[in-house]
Amino acid sequence: MNEIIRKTIEKCTGCDVCKLPCPVWRQTRDPALTFSGRAKALQGGASPEDLHKSLMACILCGSCGPACPENIDTLETTLYLRAYLMGLGFAPFPAQPLSPGSSHGRIDYALKNYDRRTFLPCEPILENTTILNRIEKLLGNEIPVSIGDGPWTAISSGIRAGFCRSQGLKAQIRQAFRETDELIVSDGLLLQKLRGWLPDVRVMGLGEALIRLPGIHGALRSSDFYIIESTAFHSDYSRLISLYDHVRAETGCRMNLDLQRIAIPTGSSCPQDRYDSNQVDPLEQARWIINESEFKRIVVESMYDLDVFRKITGSPVIHVSELV
């Protein structure tokens, strides 16, 4: 194993605080399927191959990261271990082909050059032109924004599987965004990676970009239940918690924050149908999020969450871009 990862695993004290917000733990009560379980197993002599099932079960919501008192980069460690298994010849995850542009764990990408201010939408936004147009209008109200196309769904799936780690890909991405000042990304996992790969670009999540607009957060009501997209939120937690806490205090709305102020994920953006081990039921998560809460409307940052909440409540469920 990589020495950095080995040292990271050694840093884990086994306190299990990261287990508390973990949706896999919440639904399975199996400690072996959590980050602390993997760390303890590795410390106790298990090999990464032994952790195949556990690594597959993780939905990469990043909830464990801000909970960790040792500041371990739990998400990156999990992705590295997935990549390590790939290197050992384990079947690529997800098992299905990622997209027409990928084969055998490699992504054949061709990236164009992106504009100064670019928005990278995820698949459900691309499929919903009403929402896409709305977002484009909102984000481009003062400074124009262009919609960035490209093999981003495949790259996101590749990151999830653990194999988008080559220096070549990173170099190509840096080249493609060399003119870009601000990049807005709706896929939380892709956002997390791009922020690391593009240190000179201001990279932010779609939720943050929209909630910062006065018209949007001014339209939130105290009777709203606001669902934060967890992976994006946790990827820059110490900065974003202040922003969202401010919005919560100002508007009086409820949010999917637990007592640790970690965003409870639904897991809906994780392509679980492509995985062997489907451990997290998004409907069950969503029920827990709104359990015992009174609200008149649900506002979601992630398009994946629209359907999930519509299935479990009779109240209106809207995308954050529909607030104005």
């Binding site: 306190c15 009560r29 400690p31 072996a32 197993a41 202040s242 007592l259 640790q260 015992e292």
Partner: protein, 525 residues
């Protein structure tokens, strides 16, 4: 060959079950015969039959190494052992079947919740590890009677999450997110509101218990009270708590205030005075060595806060932050050779204080979800792969001396350390406190101090750490106090502290209800 013969002379053969005088070091247990309560140990016999029996009853025992390795140590990180197999608890009935089988096949069973023991109490040395955290459902919340019925494997934090949806809270629980209800009730459980609300165990109204022989019992103060009192504070010796009904209360944010002292004695005297006077809702002492001593008080309501400041503030000797800072600055200006120490104190304060007041947990100057705030700070600043936290639990009269003597031991062993002092209101019958963390001579209140070295990444040998702990524990023997953590590797102290009569009486009860002596063996017996 000659060497072998020589070694045989040095270490002569001895009778099985009797431990001879230690030929290497003097016997630390002076006056106590070196006789083990249970000289024989389980060596794996009947395991296969036990596992097959459970399998036939649809109970899966996981024996793979990755699973078993999750349980090799506890929060203390000093005792290491490996279970032969693991079962995740799912129901009371399942545990009942396991315990019946364990008695029949004489296989040891070690229960485990958050595993925040520090002396190996929740570590298996062979046998079956029963992971209780799977039993974590809340069964009912009675908002009128202010009670909750919950499965005992639930983390206090998870219980708090559910209660907060109804704007309710538990009464008191350890400042640790991953303690479980069952584990805490089995040892006591102390919070900074324990001076008002007592131990966590005292908030239990009734319990469902699986006996070591597998019977399922319900007990409370009015029904099978002896079992109730034995299981609470019982260190898992007399049964497995599977469900508990607990008192709860409305949730309140708290306002926190700090007073600073240079003298340990003065701060403890004020702590005792304030506890006796019921002057604050939460109260405790947290120190950076014996240099910066912080008495923290907190309030659930503005009224209680106002009363404190009008009636009690002038009676305590603690300074405000600015005044104390100026005094310390003057002190270190006159002792420039102690600049390193001054910088450490300053750095520590700067790192710690924001963690105790994080913006996203503050509303109108009050802390919302104090347990989360404190617990995260505790893990961040005091957590580690090894946690060495010997403690002393004393009556009021002995507390100052015990802390001062313990402080001297800390100084001898470590450059940096923390003391954490709390009071505990005694609530229930005396029987449940027997042979527990509550010292027998405590009247009305007991007091506890944890002595926690800051290991800060330095590597210490286990012998060094054990010597430190033993010196603290020896103070307890000398002063006839008790300990919050007296199980596990502290077994050797039990007879010294509590005497043969009491220990033998408990041992007789244990033998009667656990004939094969298989439940949580090696913790006390």
């Amino acid at each position: 060959m000659r060497d072998d013969k020589k070694s045989i002379k040095i270490f002569p053969e001895h009778q099985a079950g009797i431990i001879p005088p230690d030929p290497v070091a003097p016997d630390s247990l002076k006056g106590i015969p070196r006789v083990q309560t249970r000289p024989s140990r389980w060596t794996g016999q009947s395991w296969k039959g036990f596992v097959n029996f459970l399998h036939d009853n649809d109970i899966i025992v996981r024996e793979d190494r990755p699973t078993c390795s999750l349980y090799v140590t506890d929060g203390g990180g000093i005792a290491y052992g490996m279970p032969r197999g693991v079962v995740g608890a799912t129901s009371t009935e399942q545990i009942s079947v396991i315990m019946k089988a364990a008695q029949k096949f004489r296989v040891p069973v070690k229960t485990r919740g958050g595993a925040l023991t520090t002396e190996g109490e929740s570590v298996s040395f062979g046998g079956l590890q029963l992971d209780m955290t799977g039993m974590s459902r809340i069964l009912s919340i009675d908002e009128d009677a202010l009670t909750v019925r919950t499965q005992a494997g639930i983390y206090w934090h998870s219980l708090a999450e559910a209660l907060r949806r109804k704007n309710l809270d538990y009464l008191s629980a350890p400042l640790n997110l991953t303690s479980t209800v069952g584990g805490t009730l089995s040892v006591g459980g102390i919070d900074i509101n324990s001076p008002r609300l007592g131990c966590s165990a005292d908030q239990a109204i009734s319990l469902q218990v699986v006996m070591p022989t597998g019977e399922i019992m319900e007990c409370s103060e009015s029904h099978d009270a002896e079992l109730f009192d034995r299981v609470l504070f019982g260190y898992g010796q007399f049964g497995i708590i599977t469900e508990a009904t607990l008192r709860i209360r409305p949730f309140t944010p708290i306002s926190m205030h700090y007073f600073y002292y240079k003298s340990l004695r003065a701060s403890i005297e004020d702590l005792i005075m304030l506890i006796r006077a019921d002057a604050a809702d939460y109260i405790g002492i947290l120190t950076i060595m014996d240099r910066a001593i912080n008495l923290l008080v907190a309030f659930d309501s503005e009224e209680r806060k106002r009363t404190f400041f009008s009636k009690w503030r002038s009676s305590i000797k603690g300074h405000g932050e600015l005044s104390f800072g100026l005094k310390m600055a003057a002190l270190y200006a006159m002792h420039p050779w102690k600049t390193k120490e001054a910088l450490y104190l300053l750095g520590r304060k700067r790192a710690l204080m924001p963690e105790f007041n994080p913006g996203h947990h503050m509303r109108d100057g009050r802390i919302v979800d104090r347990t989360v705030v404190f617990s995260k700070a505790v893990w961040k600043f005091w957590g580690g792969r090894q946690m060495v936290i010997p403690d002393l639990a004393t009556s009021e009269d002995k507390f100052v001396e015990a802390v001062e003597r313990g402080n001297a031991v800390c100084k001898k062993y470590f450059r940096n350390y923390t003391l954490y002092c709390v009071g505990i209101k005694l609530m229930g019958s005396k029987r449940r406190y027997e042979m527990s963390c509550i010292p027998p001579d405590a009247n009305g209140f007991a007091y506890g101090c944890e002595f926690e070295p800051m290991l800060e990444g330095e590597i210490y040998g286990n012998d060094y750490l054990q010597s430190f702990k033993n010196e603290i524990y020896d103070i307890g023997v000398d002063m006839k106090t008790s300990y919050y953590r007296f199980g596990g590797m502290m077994k050797g102290y039990i007879r010294r502290v509590f005497g043969n009569n009491l220990v033998d009486r408990h041992l007789a009860i244990k033998r009667e209800i656990d004939p094969a002596m298989i439940l949580n063996s090696d913790v006390i017996f």
